[in-house]
């Protein structure tokens, strides 16, 4: 299952980078996916985290995931042989391994929206050296072998997938606060329609932060689920523009959205988030955020002054 999800996600990513826009006999709303391959390596790290390493022809990425946490560290890599994964992540570690297949291959179902055979998966092992240390040593791993899969696919003719309308109806309200300057962290909250998810998981909170540390692109995200009381309308639907968010750990504090006498909105409070290994908690409220809040029949937006006409959110 993990392989299928990884393949689906990666194929979409690759289509954006190496997919060829539709031409000739390609679908008008589609693209061609070039033949390719990737290596996926799985290993356990310290403090309850797991590492998944993805190796593509020119990129290597390490995904660190744990309960409510997902951090990606990615670098450009030299194009080497198909069975070789090698890259240095200065400040974080290095990968230098060779894939050795074992056992028969199996074929996956065709990609959704694509015409062509499904990808082929070859299980095996990688041997060599894998070292990784997260910021502040929040997790570490050092191994000389690990289980892995080599996934290969042929040229595919694909169409762009449309967003499933049913998914929108599952969400009754959503909120996004995004810093003006791209620094700091975003905060997102989604309230699912009652009954769609268990009561204790009706609200989904997420926070995302990106940074570049030398040659390494680091993308951090954390998420938490909670009950409806964490996405609260204190005045009920009489005043749906007054909302208080109180997500659980790794978040702390509360954030309040409120309309002013000017008919603009404030986003205030003590809400912050702690990313693994990163210094103090990152504040998630203030005046330097673009805001978007949707509920009932419409949405409200507030942008950085001077950017009102853009559609950034």
């Amino acid at each position: 299952m993990r392989v299928k999800l990884a393949v689906a996600a990666i194929s979409c990513l690759l289509a954006l980078t190496i997919g060829v826009p539709a031409a000739g006999a390609a679908p008008r709303d589609g693209y061609f996916l070039r033949p390719g391959h990737e290596t996926v390596i799985h290993l356990q790290a310290s403090n309850g985290y797991q590492l998944t390493i993805y190796r593509w022809p020119r990129f290597l990425a390490i995904e660190v995931h744990g309960p409510g946490v997902e951090t990606w560290y990615s670098v450009r890599a030299r194009k080497l042989g198909k069975n070789v994964a090698q890259a240095s992540l200065p400040g974080f570690g290095a990968v230098a391994v060779r894939f050795a297949p074992s056992g028969p291959t199996r074929r996956l179902h065709p990609y959704r929206g694509c015409e062509g055979p499904g990808a082929e998966v070859q299980k095996g092992m990688v041997r060599g050296r894998i070292e990784f240390v997260g910021e502040g040593r929040y997790t570490e791993a050092k191994v000389d072998h690990a289980s892995a899969e080599m996934i290969s696919w042929t040229r595919q003719r694909c169409r762009y997938l449309r967003r499933h309308p049913r998914r929108h109806r599952r969400i009754s309200a959503s909120f996004l606060a995004e810093p003006y300057d791209g620094g700091g962290a975003t905060f997102e909250a989604r309230r699912f329609v009652a009954g769609v998810r268990p009561a204790g998981r009706q609200i989904l909170f997420e926070s995302f932060s990106g940074a570049r540390v030398g040659r390494v692109n680091v993308s951090r995200s954390v998420f938490a689920v909670a009950s409806a009381s964490s996405f609260l309308f204190p005045d009920g639907m009489k005043n749906p523009e007054h909302v208080i968010f109180a997500p659980p750990s790794p978040f702390s504090g509360t954030g309040t959205l409120q309309r002013t006498a000017e008919s603009t909105y404030t986003w205030e409070g003590s809400l912050s988030v702690k990313f693994p290994g990163i210094g103090p908690a990152v504040p998630l409220t203030g005046t330097q955020f673009n805001l978007a809040f949707c509920a009932l029949r419409g949405c409200i937006y507030q942008y950085e002054p001077g950017e009102e006409e853009s559609s950034r959110l």
Binding site: N239, R259, E262, S263, G298, E308
Partner: protein, 313 residues
């Protein structure tokens, strides 16, 4: 036929004159600032003479007189008919008007005295058009002068976006129609667009004064949607002065009071007091995504003058 002529710049104003049909002439005095604030006064009178032959006199009681003749320069240019229409194409002649042009605004706020001015004469002819392609006429040919300074009343719409707070005050007082409209556009920065208009006249001349200002924080402050008693304060910058308050009473009626007024060129008008009808709309886009402008019937106010702004190339 449409004759456009430009008399030049006087004090802070551009002064021009237009003959939108054979029987009416409109003098327009406008001031537009860098941030799109503008004020304008239009004076419309019946013409004497033969405007069809480019020779006419326009008398503006208390303002002055224009007695000129159009003289073309060079070959006329031939335009193209609207798509879907058949008939003689429109003709455009550049030239000058020569004669006597002596005008002075109330209190001397503008002053023009010259013997000639650049002009352009546009002639269009009877056309046969397929359904849906005939050009829209804001004012029917043969209408009285008043219709050229106060275009057909229409549903008021904000400038490019719905409003989430909208305040109107309208009165007929001392022979004038006076209105003020203040609105905060959804998703915009603190502040409001404030418009005022005063229409007056007799059988000799119709006059319309317009002012629009894009004002900043503190201009329009209101209670929250659904909050009672509903209230609003309006305190826009120049050319307005003073402040007004709208307050809902316990009985559901409301009061409109304060010192708010506007300094139009040459005279000052109070915008509060006896005879004003007012309405306040404060909505949340979450319940009313279409905004205040279409929520309920508002006192009808011409949103902007029918300006014939033209300057020679």
């Amino acid at each position: 036929m449409l004759l456009l002529t430009y008399f030049g710049h006087s004090s802070e104003y551009d002064v021009g004159f237009a003959v939108p049909d054979y029987g009416v002439g409109v003098l327009y005095v406008t001031r537009i600032s860098d941030n799109a604030d503008y004020s304008a006064t239009l004076y419309a009178v019946r013409l004497h003479g033969d405007a069809g032959k480019g020779r006419f006199t326009a008398r503006f009681p208390g303002i002055g007189e224009i007695a000129v003749r159009f003289k073309d320069k060079g070959r006329p240019g031939v335009g193209k008919n609207e798509r879907g229409c058949k008939g003689p194409p429109p003709v455009r002649e550049e030239g000058v008007v020569r004669g006597a042009i002596k005008l002075k605004g109330e209190g001397g706020y503008f002053h023009v005295s010259r013997r000639a001015a650049p002009a352009e004469l546009q002639r269009s002819f009877r056309l046969k058009c397929t359904k849906g392609h005939a050009a829209y006429e804001a004012v029917k040919v043969g209408s009285p002068p008043r219709d050229y300074v106060a275009p057909s009343f229409s549903i008021p719409v904000g400038t490019g976006g719905s409003t989430s707070a909208l305040l109107y005050a309208v009165a007929r007082t001392e022979g004038r129609y006076v209105a003020v409209r203040a609105g905060h556009r959804q998703n915009s920065a603190p502040g409001a667009e404030v418009q005022a208009v005063a229409l007056e006249g007799d059988r000799r001349m119709a006059i319309a004064h317009f002012a629009v200002t894009h004002a900043g924080a503190g201009t329009l402050l209101t209670s929250l949607p659904g909050e009672h008693p509903a209230k609003a304060t309006l305190s826009p910058p120049a050319p307005f002065h003073g402040e007004a308050e709208f307050l809902e009473n316990s009985s559901g009626s409301h009061s409109w009071s304060g010192s708010l007024g506007i300094a139009f060129p040459g005279f000052d008008i109070p915008l509060t007091g006896h005879g004003y009808e007012t309405s306040l709309c404060v909505i949340t886009p979450l319940k009313f995504p279409e905004g205040c402008d279409l929520i309920k019937p508002q006192p009808l106010v011409p949103e902007s003058p029918n300006l014939f702004l033209w300057r020679p190339r």
